[in-house]
Amino acid sequence: MLGDLLKKAFSSNKKSNPFHEKSNKEEIQIKEQKIHSDLEYSMTIFKEIYSFPDNKDVKFRTFQIGGLKKQACLISISTITDIKLLDEYAIQPLLRNDNPSFSIENVLAVQALSTVEYNKDAIYEINKGNAVLFIEGYTKAYSITAANFQGRDVSNADNEIVLKGPKEAFTEKAASNISLIRKRIRDENLIVESAVISKRTKNELFIVYIKDLANKQLLDNIKKRVSSLNVDSVQNLALLEQHIEERKLSLFPSILYTERPDRASAFIEDGYIVLLMDNSPDSLVLPATFWSFFHISEDHYLRYIYGNFTRGLRMIAIFITLFSSSIYVGITNYHTEMIPPDLLLAISATREKVPFPAIIEVILMEFAFGLIREGGLRVPTPIGPTIGIVGALILGQAAVQANIVSPIVVIVVALAGVCSFLVSDISMNFAIRIIRFFFILSAGFFGFYGMTAVFTAGLFYIVSIKSFGVPYLSPMTPKYTSSKDTVFRRLLKNEIFRPGYVKPKDMKKT
């Protein structure tokens, strides 16, 4: 019976096409056609495609080209185009021209000009914010680069904050992001390739790498993977990350997501490949190892000793986050002889009046802490401080006074919570916070034995996974030639190798 139920629950719906879809075959056919020499006809088509009178920001500017005495039409979407530029450098020169024998290319005083021959290409250009000039009798159209999308200016990094070092962060404009990288790497070998990765929205992806460093195989692998996407739209890199990663259900992230151009450039210089996209104030770095999630850029900006001090703190913090709650559970349930007598008695005294078993107590507090954290994240700024005070007061003070939890549990959970913030990468942060629950459960069931077993199994797993062919814990295990920048970094003068696991074309940095 149970089997039948499960079968039913998991059997797929086999009815074909349950949706009432409408074919737009006709429209597709029109788009596939070459540009017609009859301007009138073309304009009718385009007005239909863009639903002209309804679609308010699509502009059709019809005029006669001086000298040539020919009708022309400039199509643009006014909200994403630089109208002033079009007016001054495209329309006015064409209107004022009186030389009958001239080429269009020489009159248009714009920065970039290209020709398109198919309707669909013209549409693509218009959607990108460019203006397309159709001329009577021409079977091609001119695309004038005049895109002007609205967006933020370059501002401070919000999530990867450093005290020492550059403060700029990527914005939602890919062009300015590329500019930020070019500013740091003035190298003709820095390549910015673009690829269209979605079918309907035509989102453009930029693949940034250094030609004589990045491994060809890795590059081909990535290109293959992004070009084989079969989706209508990929709005930004956060979504793209989930499309191209290898293990979609794995707890550990396999692509690094950073908003700092200095960090992205440093990776590019080591032979990694960086992906950029419009609408994404960040970049994806691939391949990624455990260490790239563990490090922050400030580790290298700070002097050797200070940088390593923070690295040490961070490593300890990871272990505190992972184990403090579970050690508490394990000790209070199984290994009471392991703690100093006074602590044992203190824990015992405070636990006396608490109604729940230790594991429930800890999970309760962890849950409450998680709630405060998520709640605090979404709370509007004006009431932000309030929730902190309320959370700390109610959960810390009142819960202890009401004997719902013991004060030591508050300390243990708060310590773990604070330590979890030291891992600044959000994906790794989540991974560690989730793994913590596995440890708490295993400690509740089996004590330290269970924790050791889960830790060992976790190590097996983390050693086995790969990100774009690169083992997750390399260069520590398996060993590769590298600058040995793992838990601790070395002196800058000793960091002479690029990481061997990305197989760069040039290994030595000097």
Partner: protein, 416 residues
């Protein structure tokens, strides 16, 4: 579909494993009653009378939700035949599960320790897994149950702290020997030396203290004031797991000085001034190296040569002799002390040879090295051979400093 089926099977199996395993010896920390010390006495009907000193975790806690008006300890005594079964029997009275996790002290009455059967019960401690080998063994003049009841530390809030502090301090000052369960079992099983246990009592004994110095046992130190009655001083002597005698504080110190098993802690001692016998000199002696013990064996009588280097700081000079200034006086003092030490030590060694017929110094460890194989050593029989041995002790004193200010004024000048 097939993949999903496998997945479901796997998940179910893993869940089953979780429900099968684990939680066997899970004990919530607050559901245990923590025994700090157990007392052992001779029982009237059963073979033992056991006393539990149970610490109240809530007492003395200033944490929120932890403080209480309950007494600091709970004490319960009853008769039993072994050390393991009372764990459950006590639950007729004690509400929580008895736990030996904090148990660091076993208190045994002298009377029980002198029983021939004593060793049988001590081996119970090796059976119960929660009893640690570093548990201290304390032997009391009175019944252990009475000792536990009468012992009322004034400033240490918790009983476990009191025992830990007073024993550690006692060992550090060489008032008592370092006597753990492990050492008791080891020495008993090696069957060559004597084991020294901690001697303590709450009973005060009126004795004439004048000129006895350190030749006293626990209970013989006169104290007045408002303090705990308990005294930890001196040691008990065990041969083959059975108590056969007691050592005063001084004898305990001598045996620590002569011991080769480990270095003795620094000690503060006093002795009469060689020049003016009515005044005493206080000194601090430090053992820089453990004594050099040389064993020579001829068929028949063996000879033991002990060389004991001692570093000595003179702390007082009531006779106003100014030893720091005068080389000759210092030489005299050195000779006098060496002589005095040698005499005292020899006296003690002779006593161990005649009275105990075994040594508490761990010299058998040196003797072991002299034999090629263990059977040979066993055939030799250290314990049997020891009483006949010719022991020769030589002490070498080196002086350290003579107090912070070494020079003293001339008394005649002050009193002119």
């Amino acid at each position: 579909m097939k993949k999903q089926k496998h997945l479901i099977k796997m998940v179910c199996l893993i869940l089953l494993v979780v429900s099968l395993g684990g939680c066997w010896d899970k004990k919530e920390i607050e559901r245990n009653a923590y025994v700090v010390a157990i007392g052992l006495d001779k029982g009237k009907e059963a073979s033992l009378k056991i006393t539990y000193l149970i610490s109240n975790p809530e007492y003395g806690s200033i944490q929120q939700g932890g403080s209480t008006n309950e007494p600091p300890v709970e004490i319960i005594s009853f008769e039993t035949d072994d050390l393991v079964s009372p764990l459950y029997k006590a639950n007729a009275v004690i509400a929580k599960e008895i736990s030996y996790n904090l148990m660091k002290n076993i208190i045994v009455s002298e009377k029980l320790a002198m029983e021939k059967e004593f060793i049988r019960w001590m081996y119970d401690t090796t059976k119960e897994k929660d009893i640690r080998r570093d548990t201290y063994l304390i032997f009391t003049k009175e019944d252990a149950s009475k000792f536990i009841l009468e012992n009322q530390p004034k400033l240490e809030t918790r009983a476990n702290k009191y025992f830990e502090f007073i024993i550690r301090r006692g060992i550090a000052t060489a008032n008592i020997p370092d006597s753990t369960l492990h050492r008791y079992l080891r020495i008993t099983e090696a069957d060559a030396d004597l084991f020294l246990g901690i001697y303590a009592t709450t009973e005060h004994e009126d004795t004439d203290q004048s000129n006895k110095g350190d030749e006293i046992f626990a209970g013989q130190l006169d104290t007045t004031g408002k303090t705990n009655k308990t005294q930890f001083l001196g040691s008990t002597v065990f041969k083959e797991g059975m108590m056969i005698g007691k050592l005063t504080a001084e004898d305990t110190r001598i045996s620590l000085l002569l011991s080769v098993a480990e270095k003795s802690p620094p000690m503060l001692i006093s002795f009469p001034d060689p020049n003016k016998k009515e005044y005493r000199i206080a000194a601090k002696i430090t053992q820089l190296k453990s004594p050099k013990v040389d064993l020579k064996m001829n068929n028949g009588i063996s000879k033991v040569d002990v060389f004991l280097p001692i570093h000595m700081d003179i702390l007082t000079d009531h006779a106003m002799e100014n030893y720091a200034k005068d080389t000759q006086k210092r030489e005299e003092l050195k000779k006098y002390i060496e002589n005095r030490f040698e005499k005292k030590m020899m006296k003690f060694v002779t006593r161990t040879q005649e009275e105990f017929k075994a040594d508490p110094f761990g010299w058998s460890l040196i003797a072991r090295k002299k034999f090629a194989s263990l059977p040979e050593y066993k055939r030799f029989g250290w314990m049997q051979a020891y009483p006949q041995m010719d022991v020769n002790i030589s002490v070498n004193i080196t002086f350290g400093d003579f107090g912070r200010q070494s020079r003293l004024p001339k008394l005649e000048k002050v009193r002119d």
